[in-house]
Amino acid sequence: MVNLSVNLEINLAGIRLRNPIVLASGILGVSMSLLKRVEQAGAGAVTTKTITLNPRQGYANPVFVDLEYGFLNAMGLPNPGVDYFVREFFEGCERLNIPLIVSIGGGSAEEFYEICARICKCPMDAVELNLSCPHAKGYGLEVGADPQHVYDIVRRVRKCFSNKPIFVKLSATVPSIVEVAEAALKAGASGFVAINTVRAIAIDIYAKKPILSNVYGGLSGPAIKPIAVRVVYELYENFKNVPIIGVGGVDSWETAVEFLLAGARAVGIGSAVVRRDLEIFNEILEGLKRYLEVEGYDRVSDIVGLAHEVV
């Protein structure tokens, strides 16, 4: 029995989401038809795979390892490049009824600007800057660990997107998340997505070799949840009013609630899809509604950041 009066809507930097559960970048987001399926599965918003200026082939197989407590991937940001992306996503006839966040990646502020210039007219709701991929040479964390670099990129992107939200996707692998976040905000970022995968390796003891073709990959799943919750908590503690999409190891309504309490306004679903497939969206929504009801809250927004309250 679901209490219809529980309100799951959330306002994310001005975008209205029917619920706070968002598809994370790189998960299924390579085609409109997959995003449609995710919409139908119940998501509040979806994020595309990270798009770069030029096509990228990604790394050779293996690109994915199923560990016991998480997953390792080094896809290598495969994508057809921004021009192809715009054609496929926005010139077809399918349209989403939920907000679409476009994730973009580049090696320099200039590259980010170039991409933005080509997508800013498209029917999209927000842009997400991947400044945190831990394994793509010259991209992601390699540009996102330096606050000055982050500042420059966000500023350039802001030039293009004068009135659309810009989310910066952060890595946990920096000594001070606050410094990087501050730089992004100063340059005009609207919010954060935290966190990306954590640089990691898996070696098979019988093969005696690293498994991923790229050797290095990104750890996701339950293993990184406490790290992700920490980053979200730390961001909220320092920038109370800045919206955060919490990502990392969300695989149940309980973990989703933990992120909301830590200060996330929305919660991203990534590798949980491996075990639960698209059912995960509905499972979380049902659990979340029940939790809010039992604990006596009318709106999901009421619990955002609650863990910071002193009493």
Binding site: G26, I27, L28, G29, V30, S31, S33, L34, L35, K36, R37, K49, P55, R56, Q57, G58, A60, N61, P62, V63, F64, V65, D66, L67, E68, N73, M75, P78, N79, P80, G81, Y84, E88, E94, A202, D204, Y206, A207, K208, K209, I211, S213, S271, V273, V274, D277
Partner: protein, 268 residues
């Protein structure tokens, strides 16, 4: 992390196709149509259909195609340790009430259908098989199929053995589709398209095994997906029913390359 096994035998089926008999370290269960990812350390990882599974004995049929399969042909031998991930995907669906089924296969597409034929036989369902090859030199497993099927018809493109022509021509001439409760096909996609079209025209239940680039293999990266339904070969497939396939614009037409760009199936 991995499912381990050791190669117990290698059989050269044709100059470019080999059967690898593997003894797994642990028992697993799988249904025909499911596949495994075979990891060759520092060389690559490729999807392969399960050609048979009995207790801890696994059969993989590997056609030499490019980098990884060539490496395998050149380096894998009795005693080689193998690293597998899976079984992955969904296999063929078989209903208890089926009495007679038809298998239509070409090339290494024989692999999943051989496993299926064995299972059908175990369930007391009889089946016929249509096997297509380029030539008699490329032909393999005909005797194995004869061991588990009632009638086995063979075609070769050049007529060097059996019926001369495509396996779809063989289908038109040798069997009456209406005699079967279901048709299962695996092989070149354009061949399967033909089979599916023929079956659906006559209202015969049909399932086909699709191939796309498999990267993650677990339904998360989306690269293997088919438009416009967004079905993933690795998770929602690789086996799809004719009904679904006919709704897929991509079937018989497009696949995605490593970048995620749509390519004509003929460019593959």
């Amino acid at each position: 992390m991995y499912l381990y096994g050791t190669i117990s035998d290698v059989v050269e089926l044709t100059p470019s196709v080999r059967l690898y008999e593997i003894k797994l370290y642990e028992r697993i269960s799988a249904s025909p149509g499911q596949f495994l990812m075979l990891w060759v350390p520092r060389i690559g990882e490729i999807p392969l259909s399960i050609a048979n599974l009995e207790d801890r004995g696994l059969w993989l049929i590997i056609a030499k195609k490019g980098r990884v399969t060539t490496f395998i042909h050149e380096n894998f031998d009795r005693g080689t340790r193998v690293f597998l991930r899976g079984p992955l995907g969904r296999g063929f669906s078989v209903k208890k009430e089926f009495r007679k089924c038809l298998l239509v296969a070409g090339g290494y597409g024989l692999a999943p259908l051989y496993f299926l034929a064995r299972q059908l036989k175990d369930c007391g369902i009889t089946c016929d098989a249509l096997l297509g090859f380029k030539s008699v030199r490329e032909m393999f497993f005909v005797d194995e199929f004869k061991g588990v099927c009632t009638n086995v018809y063979v075609s070769t493109d050049d007529g060097s053995y059996g019926f001369k022509g495509l396996v779809t021509d063989l289908l038109d001439t040798s069997v009456t589709l209406e005699a079967y409760d279901a048709v299962y096909t695996s092989g070149k996609e354009l061949m399967m398209l033909e089979v599916v079209n023929r079956c659906s025209r006559r209202g015969i239940r049909v399932e086909a095994s699709l191939e796309r680039l498999i990267k993650c293999g677990v339904g998360i990266c989306g690269l293997c997906s088919l438009d416009p339904l967004g079905l993933r070969v690795c998770k929602d497939g690789p086996i799809f029913t004719g009904e679904v396939l006919l709704k897929l614009r991509d079937f018989g037409r497009y696949w995605r390359d490593e970048h995620g760009r749509k390519k004509s199936i003929e460019e593959r």
